[in-house]
């Protein structure tokens, strides 16, 4: 009878201890979450509203000699505008598809070249040599009264 009573007490005591343990663990976990979550959210840079750009001027055609190139900003993206040997204008994303460097036009080799890892693209933006895994994104070029207008390729 006595032992049963003490057994009951022990079980009761253990239940109470388990409950307190549970309460403490959940409380601590909640506290940790409430501390960490705002910190992680704070570190995540907020999305900035992007201005939608449909076309950007690259200047006047007469300012370009054959083989000249210019890098312009198309929204957030740098775009390279090239006047090739056939006197046509071409435009591509200026960001190398390998590791994000900005490319340049090599007049003597007639290639678009990335100095960071020697990546090469032809005048159609196709990756022809070196580590770039993909071609450069194409942009359209329209001449409007001597002005070079770069627009997103559809």
């Amino acid at each position: 009878m006595i032992s049963n009573e003490s057994d009951g007490k022990i079980i009761k005591k253990e239940n109470r201890r388990d409950f307190l343990k549970y309460l403490l663990t959940t409380g601590l976990a909640g506290f940790a979450l409430a501390t960490i979550y705002p910190v992680i959210s704070f570190l995540k840079p907020p999305k900035q509203r992007e201005v939608k750009v449909s076309s950007v001027s690259a200047g006047l055609a007469k300012d370009f000699n054959t083989g000249d190139y210019k890098i312009i900003r198309f929204g957030k993206v740098p775009v390279i505008v090239i006047k090739d040997e056939e006197k046509d204008f071409r435009a591509f994303s200026a960001t190398c598809t390998h590791l994000d460097c900005t490319v340049q036009y090599k007049k003597d080799e007639k290639i678009i070249w990335c100095a960071c890892h020697n990546g090469k693209y032809d005048l159609h933006g196709r990756n022809i040599s070196g580590p770039p895994p993909r071609p450069l994104d194409k942009f359209m070029v329209v001449l409007k009264d001597e002005e070079i207008l770069v627009t997103k390729s559809s």
Partner: protein, 347 residues
């Protein structure tokens, strides 16, 4: 003074510490040299903070101001830049000497692990500090470096955005790197350094494995004052070398970063990243179904984890037996790093 602080107890404690004397004892000095160079980094770094401005429209100009207008500004910045390079070199030597001596073996596993993370943090210090002058080279080095983190499977893209403070390298990246370089990294570094030094204090200097196999009783030298004075002499020598380098080869600034300028020809990262940069150049665009850069990053990540865990898989050394395979692996790693660094440097 002694009755208040009991300094004699400290001297007694230090003089009871012994450093083994043997043919490889010279390697014991590189931990101390690394510590000295880190202290020098902290001191010159604090001085630079008096004038440096961490924003994209002022950073370059503020460094220019330090170099041209502030008295001895050129000297302080050049010492900071040179001691940063020598610090990383010293950490490399320290790490490889510990590796070849198998000083990571039981019971010093945790000293190796804290040391490994201190090494990674040293590289992170170099990488984050490199961007701070906001010049052309630094801008593209950061673009490439952070883009590589994007290649890590699953967490790569969020990690890249976290590091850059957005999708691209901008003024937001500079602010973050400034915070990492002067607050976050030093905080973690000092914490790990205290642990690292505490472990060394508790366990004493590791003795060469050959001596324990032969049950040879090595000669010793008291840490204080004998070894300590030798340490100080070497630190003085290192300081002189840095002063000479800073005076004759002051740190350069280059051109201001321009997000619309192409990457300049001959662009290279700092020498300690050159072997990785050169290796990535040899990777083709695709290997089977994965992109070359992803394969490269994974390869270096696996190598890094194996390096970190060497005390656990080199059980032979932990049992106190000679393990020549470790030496071959170390020689391979050293040759790989040196050869690819040279190729990267001259091409």
């Amino acid at each position: 003074m002694d009755s208040r602080l009991q300094l004699s107890d400290l001297v007694k404690f230090m003089s009871k510490k012994y450093v083994p004397v043997h043919s490889h004892s010279v390697w014991y000095y590189f931990g101390g040299v690394s510590l000295f160079l880190f202290i020098l980094q902290v001191v010159t770094g604090i001085l630079l903070l008096f004038y440096y401005k961490g924003s994209s429209d002022q950073a370059y100009e503020s460094v220019q101001f330090i170099m041209s207008k502030v008295e001895f500004g050129w000297l302080i910045r050049s010492i900071h830049a040179w001691s940063a390079n020598l610090f990383i070199l010293s950490v490399f030597i320290h790490m490889f000497s510990v590796f070849f001596e198998k000083a990571y073996r039981k019971p010093r596993e945790l000293t190796w692990i804290t040391g490994f993370f201190l090494f990674v943090l040293s590289l992170a210090f170099g990488f984050s500090g490199y961007l701070l002058p906001w010049n052309e080279l630094a801008f593209f080095a950061t673009k490439v470096g952070t883009d590589i983190t994007g290649a890590v499977p699953f967490i790569g893209e969020p990690l890249k955005v976290f590091l850059r403070g957005g999708d691209d390298v901008t003024g937001a990246t500079l602010s973050r790197f400034f915070g990492f370089h002067v607050a976050l990294f030093p905080g973690i570094f000092v914490f790990l350094l205290i642990l690292h030094l505490l472990f060394v204090q508790r366990q004493g200097m590791s003795e060469p494995i050959e001596a324990s196999i032969k049950k040879e009783k090595l000669k010793t030298m008291p840490f204080f004052p004998n070894f300590f004075l030798r340490d100080l002499l070497l630190w003085l020598l290192v300081l002189n070398i840095i002063a000479i380098l800073a005076v004759f080869f002051p740190a350069e600034l280059g051109m201001k970063a321009d997000p619309l300028a192409p990457a300049p020809a001959g662009i290279k990262p700092e020498w300690y990243f050159l072997f990785m940069f050169q290796t990535l150049k040899y990777f083709p665009a695709h290997i089977l179904f994965i992109e070359g850069e992803v394969a490269g990053v994974l390869l270096f990540a696996v190598a890094g984890v194996l390096w970190l865990l060497v005390p656990f898989w080199d059980t032979k050394s932990s049992r106190g037996q000679l393990n020549r395979k470790i030496n071959y692996l170390g020689v391979f790693a050293v040759l790989f790093i040196i050869i690819l660094t040279i190729i990267g440097w001259i091409t």
